[in-house]
Every structure is written in C-alpha cells, then in structure tokens.
C-alpha cells in the first residue's frame, strides 16, 4: 500500500480534530451539568472512527455503541444537530428523543449509537445483507468494544456475516476495559482478533492510535468486502483517556494514572500532526487553524443547541409507529 496522500492526511486529521473537540466540549458541558443522561466520551480513540470512516461513503452504513459521538462525527455528523440532541432539544438529530446513546443520522448511514452492548452488530449484518441483496456495492461497518465481543449478539452476528459471506467489516475498538473491569479478567486471549478464525474470516490487528494505520487496513478490508469476498475482523488497539462515562470519576481506582499518561504519549492527533509537519504537508499554524476553525463551529453549534426549544410534551406519543401514507 502506498503512502497516504496529503489529502488523506488532512482528511484524517480533520475528522479527528472534529471528534476530539466535540468530545472535549461535551465533557466540559457535562461537568457544568448542562447535559442530561450518561455520556461516554471517545477521546483517545479518534483514530479508529476517523481511519475507518474516511473509507466510507454516505451510503455505507455503520452501527455504533454507547460511545457513539465519535462515529457520527467521523461519518460527517452535523455539530448543531448533535449538540441539540445531547441537550435534549427538539432540533436535535433525534428530536431529543434519543440523546447520546441513540444519536444517529440515517442520511449519513449512521444507524445509531446503541445502549445495549453488542446489539449493533446484528443490525449492521442486516444492513450488509441488504447491500448484497440489492447489489449496491455498499458495505456496512459495526463498531464495538473489546468487551462487546464477549456477548452473544456479537458472536451470532459475526458468524452470520461469515456464513452468508456478507460485505461487513467488523471494527473492534479494543481499549482494554469494559467499564471499570480490565480485559484480562473477562477474556483469556491476548488478542481479540484471535476470535476471527473461528468465524472463518481474516483477523487483523492494528495500532488504533495511528489513524494512517487504521485507514490503510480499513481500506483493504472494505475493498475486500465491496468485491464480494466477505467480512473481515479488525482489532484496533486503542485507549480511552476519560472514564467509562463522564470525564473523571472521583476515587475511581481501576487503572493507574500512569497508564493514561503513557497512552497520551501516543496521542493519535499529536501523531498525525507530527507526521504532517515532518512530511511538509502542514505547518503548526495550519494545524492550529484547523483546531480554531472547528472550535468556532462548535461554539456556534452549542449556541444553537442552547437556544433551541425543548420538544413539546405531545411529542411523547409521536413516532412510536410509522403510519402508512393514505392511498
């Protein structure tokens, strides 16, 4: 595989900065108690969503997890509608009915964050089935955590995709924890990707802190799926900087601060910025400009969300069923 072009680097960088700043601002708003419900931040894992989604079209479908903001941003999500949703406003992506754990944009093929661990994978497989059935050349991509590979729904989905040879690329975001429990307590394997063989699909391990590495492997796996050669399992070794939910819980002792600090030395944004500067693709000022521009968009989006109205109580009974158009 050839080196990524400057366009690709810019693209990956932009997606990651968008995710990072979305999440940092979400964390801040959450600590200000402005956002209801549970928030699971994606900070640290940006390279995975960015590297994968840079290979997808708006028609390709993804399913996501409880930690879903990053996936939607990477897929091109609109900040305004995202923040409005997190605020529970009527202008949000889900009209305020879903919130963080169900945020989605069907027009971008983002079939929703999901509050049930593992539940997104079977749905992505269904989308993959439709793609094959319709022969539209699309692929579907379920994102899920390391912990999710222990639940039955994931297993059934992976086997189904392999048995039916569907165009699906499984992306496991291995951040080595499920909530507050380290992976070694819940899994007796070194690499999650070792599960792939048992489904009869290739399993690939990549550095999930390196957007370019993710991008390369994902582009191969996605091309393979588009060709009709079936599913791939990709394990991206990554890390989450903040707590399972929220930013930093008090007295939460399930991991050492030093572990977090070590991971930060491999920060995916820092890494791609270094690379872009070294390669002469960008200057430090260029990159800072990106951050500033994205932050300005976010400020605007937050203002939009804050000014937006809450949904009307009569919305409670709307959208439960699809009513068939007359005629």
């Amino acid at each position: 595989m050839s080196d990524p072009t400057p366009e690709v680097l810019w693209d990956l960088h932009h997606r990651m900065v968008r995710i990072r700043l979305f999440e940092e601002n979400t964390g801040r708003l959450s600590e200000q108690a402005k956002l209801p419900g549970f928030l699971h931040l994606y900070v640290g894992e940006e390279a995975v969503a960015a590297g994968v989604c840079a290979n997808l079209t708006d028609d390709d479908q993804i399913t996501s997890t409880h930690r879903g903001h990053g996936h939607l941003v990477a897929k091109g999500g609109d900040f305004k509608r995202m923040f409005a949703e997190l605020y529970g406003k009527a202008t949000g992506y889900n009209k305020g009915k879903g919130g963080s754990m169900h945020i989605c944009d069907l027009d971008l093929g983002m079939l929703g964050a999901n509050g049930i661990v593992g539940a997104g994978s079977p749905i992505a497989v269904g989308a993959g089935f439709a793609n094959k059935y319709l022969g539209n050349g699309q692929v579907s991509v379920p994102f899920f955590g390391d912990g999710a590979t222990n639940i039955g729904a994931f297993h059934e989905a992976a086997n189904m995709a392999a048995a039916l040879k569907l165009p699906v690329v499984f992306i496991c975001e291995n951040n080595e924890y499920g909530e507050f429990t380290p992976r070694h307590k819940t899994m007796a394997v070194t690499d999650v990707a070792s599960r792939a063989e048992g489904y009869g699909m290739p399993g690939v391990i990549i550095d999930g802190m390196d957007a370019v590495a993710v991008w390369e492997v994902a582009s191969e796996a996605i091309a393979r799926a588009r060709r009709g050669d079936g599913p791939t399992f990709v394990e991206a070794k990554t890390y989450r900087y903040y707590d399972h939910h929220g930013v930093k819980g008090l007295g939460v002792t399930y991991r050492e601060d030093s572990e977090v600090e070590e991971a930060k030395t491999r920060d995916p944004i820092g890494r791609i910025e270094e690379r872009m500067i070294e390669a002469g693709v960008a200057s430090a000022e260029d990159l800072e400009g990106v951050h500033a521009k994205v932050q300005a968009e976010i400020d605007e989006a937050i203002a939009f969300a804050e000014e937006s109205p809450y949904p009307d109580p009569d919305q409670i009974l709307q959208d439960v069923y699809t009513v068939r158009a007359a005629g």
């Binding site: 069907l106 989308a127 189904m160």
Partner: protein, 337 residues
C-alpha cells in the same frame, strides 16, 4: 382457477401461511425470508414450503441457529430498504431474541426521532397440546403486547392467516405474527386473490346477546365450540376474535360488553399477567356501569406446561373451561333477578 373454485377453495392454516408469503414475494422484490430451516426444508411447520424452490436461496435464506442475529438481520435489512420476514420457529425461542425485538426493533424508530422505518415481520408458532413440554409450548404474546413500537397478530383460521399476514408484511412497523402449532392442518376457505385484513380490527365470529367471549388464537375455535354447546341450553354467546392484540380493538369488545353485560376472556397463555388481564382491566374501565358480573378470565394455570398428555390435557384451556367461565359469569347477579 375459475371463479367458482376460488369461491370455495379450501386451504389449511399452514398452506394459507406460505401462500400469503409467496404472494407478497411475487408482489414485492424486496420481501425476503430468513430463518432456521426455512429454505431447503420449508420451515419445521411447513409454513415456508415451496418458497425456496420458487424464489431461490437469495430470497429464502437458511440461517445459523442465531435468533438474535436473525432478528438483527431483519432490522438492519428493513432500515436499509428491504421488507424482511424473519422466523423464530417456536414462540418459546422468542426469549433468546428479546433484546433485538424489544430494545432494538421496537424502539429504533422512536429513539431516532421518527426517522427509521422498519417494515419487519417476525413469524413464530406458539401454543401447547403436542406433548412438547415446557420449552416448546408457551404462549408469550403478553410480553410483546407490553412493548410500544410492536404490533402483535394472532390468526385463528386459514382465512385470517392469509389476510393478516399480508397486512403484517405490508405494514411499515415491526409486527410479530403468532401461529398456532395445533392448527396447522385446520382447513377453511381462503380466497385466491391477495387481500388484507386490517391490523387492529376485531372480528365478531359469532353474534350473541347473553355473554361476550373474547378469545385469542386457537381459543377462538374452542370458544365457538363452547358457544354452540351453550346455545343448546339457550345461552347465546357473542364470540369476538381480536385478531391483533396490539393494537387491540377495545371499541368492538367494549361495545359488545355493554350489550351483553357479561364477559369471559380466554387465551392459552398463563392467566396471571396474560393479555386477558389487560382486556379485563380495559373492559371494567370502559363498561363498568354495564357489567353484571366481573370479567372472567380463562387461561392456563400458574405452572410451566407439563409434558405428559395426562397433565397437559387438563392444563390447556378448552371449550370446557370456557363454557364453565360462561356459566360462572351467568351465575352472578342473575339476569332479571
């Protein structure tokens, strides 16, 4: 087939089932079937017979034994523009797939602010009476009826099988269609053409003025038998088959209750917490001043389904227990007394 043939054509319950699906598949290329043994074998109950031969392996898909992924396949395909029919063989196996049915299929549309359209049909067969024991004989529709976002359909004869199934498949919402294992071979007139029976409209199977019997699924047959028998004693029962339990056609039921003043509700499921409880609650809410007796519920006793026919025959509600229910409501505050 000539018009006359069509007017009298008899099909079995399960033939009507596969015919409805076949016609929907001819009608709409986006309709497909997936489930265990639905293809080569035509479904363990024969409800998908001949479909793979006609429509091929792409449209009639034998899946792994993976009920969660089967439902998920349906959801993902539905959101992506297809109109899936996915099968959960025995109703008891619904328990394995509850998350996908309840937390996903039922809720995606709402959680997404209305945008998703999920024209998914889930088919399954419930009911006892075959000596199939506690894990292959249950009637669990009450669970599904309790979940906003789902529709629940339960046909009681071949004619309704076809019309309700076509409506369910064409419906743009997740529907859960429950057949009855003991009725597979039951015959009845089934029109040749495609027709819909609207979801949410009850059927007054037999008119009567003395007592209303609301019965579901196979209990409709038992209720009609009970009514016929009771008529010999001059007791005229009105038998109502709701046909869909969610939405439930409360209006038709309440209207009847107001006229007869006495109601028995009957289902195969365990009485405690069954859909009969909801019916009884609604009837007393809506027709309180008209009732001469409490709404009487006929259902299975509070135990798993026993294997031995010696036990099962007493376990499953029947024309006998329904008739007893009718006599019980009539014994209260005797009419004219």
């Amino acid at each position: 087939m000539t018009a006359t043939e069509s007017d009298t054509r008899q099909l079995t319950y399960v033939q009507a089932w596969s015919e409805a699906i076949a016609e929907c598949m001819r009608d709409d290329p986006n309709v497909f079937v997936a489930g265990e043994d639905v293809g080569g074998y035509g479904g363990v109950f024969g409800s998908f017979k001949g479909l793979q031969a006609e429509f091929g392996e792409q449209r009639v898909v034998d899946t792994p034994i993976s009920e969660q992924a089967i439902i998920g396949l349906g959801i993902g395909a539905a959101v992506s523009g297809l109109r899936p029919i996915v099968d959960i063989m025995f109703m008891d196996f619904t328990a394995v797939a509850m998350d996908q049915i309840v937390n996903q299929a039922a809720k995606l549309k709402y959680m997404f602010g209305g945008k998703a359209v999920i024209p998914l049909t889930i088919t399954t067969f419930g009911g006892a009476g075959l000596g199939a024991a506690a894990q292959h004989s249950q009637s669990l529709e009450a669970w599904i009826c309790h979940v906003p976002g789902l529709k629940v359909v339960q046909p009681s004869n071949p004619h309704d099988v076809k019309g309700l199934l076509i409506s369910a498949i064409r419906d743009d919402n997740p529907t859960y269609v429950v057949g009855n294992k003991l009725m597979l071979g039951a015959t009845g007139h089934v029109p040749d053409e495609m027709y819909e029976i609207p979801l949410g409209v009850a059927n007054i199977v037999r008119p009567g003025d003395d007592v209303t019997i609301v019965a579901t699924g196979r209990m409709v047959v038992e209720a009609v038998e009970a009514a016929t028998k009771l008529a010999e004693d001059g007791i005229e029962c009105e038998v109502i088959d709701p046909r869909t339990l969610q939405p439930l056609d409360t209006d038709t039921i309440v209207e009847s209750a107001k006229r007869t003043n006495r109601v028995v509700v009957a289902h195969e499921a365990v009485r405690f917490g069954g859909i009969g409880a909801e019916m009884a609650a609604q009837i007393q809410e809506e027709a309180f001043d008209y009732l001469d007796a409490p709404v009487q519920r006929v259902g299975a006793p509070f135990s798993p389904v026993p294997f031995s026919p010696a036990l099962e025959q007493h376990y499953v509600p029947s024309r006998k227990t329904i008739a007893q229910g009718v006599r019980d409501v009539l014994a209260r505050n005797l009419p004219g007394a």
